[in-house]
Symmetry: C2
Subunit: 434 residues, 2 copies
């Protein structure tokens, strides 16, 4: 088997056999296949795509390249939730406690912020004392006790994916549906879950700008799950404006806390309940999806989801009081309002620009080494469809350093489109796949 | 300027500015841009193509990456001829002497055999004593005296192309029209020629299998020449069967010698005269192309082309007598006939398979390090359109080692397609571009 022949076959639109995919992944991980051949192969995949069989084998090879977590000692169905990344997306802190309150075991392995989107671990670490670097034993003990634990992915999970991702990042081969799918699924399946609920974001603030691409991504990931005997469902959800009102680490924790107390924004509440319901249903804690929705709502209204989250925060070293007393969370020192230049209706809010502006004042990182400022971020005052007057506040920037505040404010102002006509209402949950 | 952004732009079908192409070629040649980014870029070019402006700038950057030959001290228009590679293609040994006999200065810089096609240098070195590794001074002196010299391309010509070609070879990015065009043209233009006649082969024995691709390749190379103020004409010629009857180094020298004595195969004679005529016309030795054709024919019939070739052979250390007395050339020790399995018409002869079979018995090399056997090869007895009986000889394999003779004979037999109907006659010269 010669690597160059496999590259050529993929280039010419052919399908590789399972053992050929294996040869490539193992050869690359071991260093036998050099970067320059793999990057040419990845670019060929970008253009030629992959069959379901190929993408499943690729996922399996990456999954097997490292450790896999064995959660079989813990009773019950283990269900994780994964979002492809959006702006203001704090559903994990709401849906996971609601599902856990319903008896689902939720091993939440998450990543950090990169690019314009936020990271679950960074947001959690805004809570004073919260630790995400648990040992494997701490992780399984907490899971068994509380049914929910938040942890970072270790370097030993799917190392082939990490090596490939680093190469894709510098060779313009990130935006490929088979490569994105296999990257996500290899890590998720290495976590030892039985089922997975995916939130595939689409729109200005998502990696997928078009619904047709989001659908293909969702279908590919659901297909990988099916071939590996894991139940996977995907929601395709709108990311043409931030989810909720808060963007930024501590700010999002505050909004999640309010939402768990049934006092959160409508869109965030709705999506969190739907995600929790899918987790409950896949976790076999309800007979029907409808029943699962009622359970999720019930655990929101009766406060048991909130209580679960507080228990988890305490178990992981965080101060649960900070979820009630926001002054215990990191707080910004400065505030800058952004006003509407004219009267009209908010017709769209470019979510990627809001995310980028928030990062600009310190909420995110451009490079992996960058430090983030948990206190800073942006609070929207209005959302798409709302009426504004000239001079009324569109949003507020919360900052601790003035460096790039004006630049960020300009970007935020441009992110709001104000038009004279009321825009058509947009669905939040666009499709279900799987 | 970030390399990854340039890869992405090309991937997405965008055009790179001249300075961006320069950044890539210079960065890659100096080692600042790693192989893995360049190979991803090359694969993106394979799929997205290049504009005329891009391909011209790429050619120019590769050309300028090394030495360029200055032939301005030699009077007259300098015209080279280049073939994209075929099987049994020995036109250089006929067309170049005919053009030189007409007064054109012909600096012939050639390559070696690789893949299923033969190499001009390897064929010439079948003549005992013939040297192709001349010094620059020997080269220019001979050009001034005889108007024709055969030499190998030095490593100092277009080193960026050599580095890129080595990468393309192992990353399945060879078969790209902009990359092939710029590779050929950068080397040819570095030779300091004023004009160039291209023979773009199309068919089973050529790299281009389809005429539409050959046309695009020809148009791209002619376009590069035009943008660099060089006169370039391209013939698109049929390579669906070997040219002439002889395939193999010494065997091809013999056939070229016969053709220069006006006793060669019709197809080889016809194409050689047309190529010589184009060289004479671009070399400004005739007022019209028609007049150039007459001159080429005249120099064939009166033996002045043959005389010129003998002078060149002698000047480069070869024994010119070997062109008359073929026993002075390396001769094979064994012969194996391949007979027709049935009666009918030869409807096609897969030229690539004939070339591969010839290499199998030692005429070519698979890897650059391989040694070749100048004596061996294949002589066709019939060509497309001819009638054969069951058992009549299709061709003869000439060999010195028996190792792979039977395998080669099987391949050769399969290369001939015998059908009951006489096939339609095929044009040899299909198109002229430029």
């Amino acid at each position: 088997m010669r690597t160059v022949d496999l590259i050529q076959r993929k280039r010419d639109g052919g399908e590789l056999a399972p053992e050929e995919i294996e040869f490539l992944v193992e050869g690359y991980t071991s260093g036998d296949i050099p970067d320059y051949q793999m990057s040419a192969f990845l670019m060929a995949v970008f253009f030629s795509g992959m069959s379901d069989r190929e993408v499943s084998r690729l996922t399996e090879c990456m999954l097997r390249s490292g450790d896999t977590v064995d959660l079989s000692a813990i009773a019950g169905v283990k269900v994780d939730k994964h979002s492809t990344g959006g702006v203001g997306d704090k559903t994990s802190f709401i849906a996971a406690p609601l599902a856990a309150a319903a008896g689902v075991v939720v091993p939440m392995m998450s990543g950090r912020a990169l690019g314009h989107t936020g990271g679950t671990l960074d947001k959690l670490e805004a809570i004073p004392g919260f630790r995400t670097n648990l040992t494997a034993e701490e992780f399984t003990t907490q899971l068994a006790e509380l049914g929910l634990c938040f942890i970072g992915q270790t370097d030993r999970l799917a190392p082939a994916d990490r090596k490939l991702y680093a190469l894709r990042d510098v060779t313009a081969t990130v935006e490929s549906i088979p490569l994105i799918s296999s990257s996500i699924m290899s890590k998720k399946l290495a976590e030892g879950v039985d089922a997975l609920v995916l939130d595939v974001k689409v729109g200005s603030g998502a990696f997928m700008k078009k619904q047709v691409d989001a659908r293909r991504l969702a279908q590919t990931m659901v297909g990988i799950g099916r071939r590996m005997d894991k139940k996977v469902q995907a929601l395709i959800t709108d990311m043409n404006q931030p989810l909720g009102y808060a963007v930024g680490n501590a700010l999002e924790i505050m909004e999640a806390s309010q939402t768990l107390q049934n006092a959160g924004p409508a869109d965030l509440t709705k999506l969190s309940i739907e995600l929790a319901a899918r987790m409950i249903f896949l976790g076999k804690k309800s007979a029907t999806l409808e029943e699962a929705r009622h359970m999720a709502e019930h655990h929101l209204v009766d406060g048991s989801g909130y209580k679960k989250f507080k228990q988890v925060v305490a178990a992981q070293g965080g101060n649960p009081q900070a979820l009630d007393k926001f002054e215990l969370l990191p707080n910004a020192t400065g505030m800058r309002e952004v006003a509407s230049p004219r009267a009209g209706y908010v017709s769209s809010i470019n979510a990627a620009d809001i995310g980028t502006a928030s990062n600009m004042i310190g909420a995110g990182r451009d490079k992996k080494e960058d430090a983030i400022d948990p206190a800073v971020g942006i609070i929207l005052e209005v959302k798409t469809g709302e009426k504004v007057d000239a001079g009324s506040v569109l949003c507020r920037l919360y900052y601790t350093k003035e460096d790039r505040v004006e630049e960020a404010a300009g970007m935020v102002e441009d992110a709001f489109r104000i038009s004279s006509q009321k825009p058509e209402e947009r669905e939040l949950i666009l499709e279900v796949v799987g």
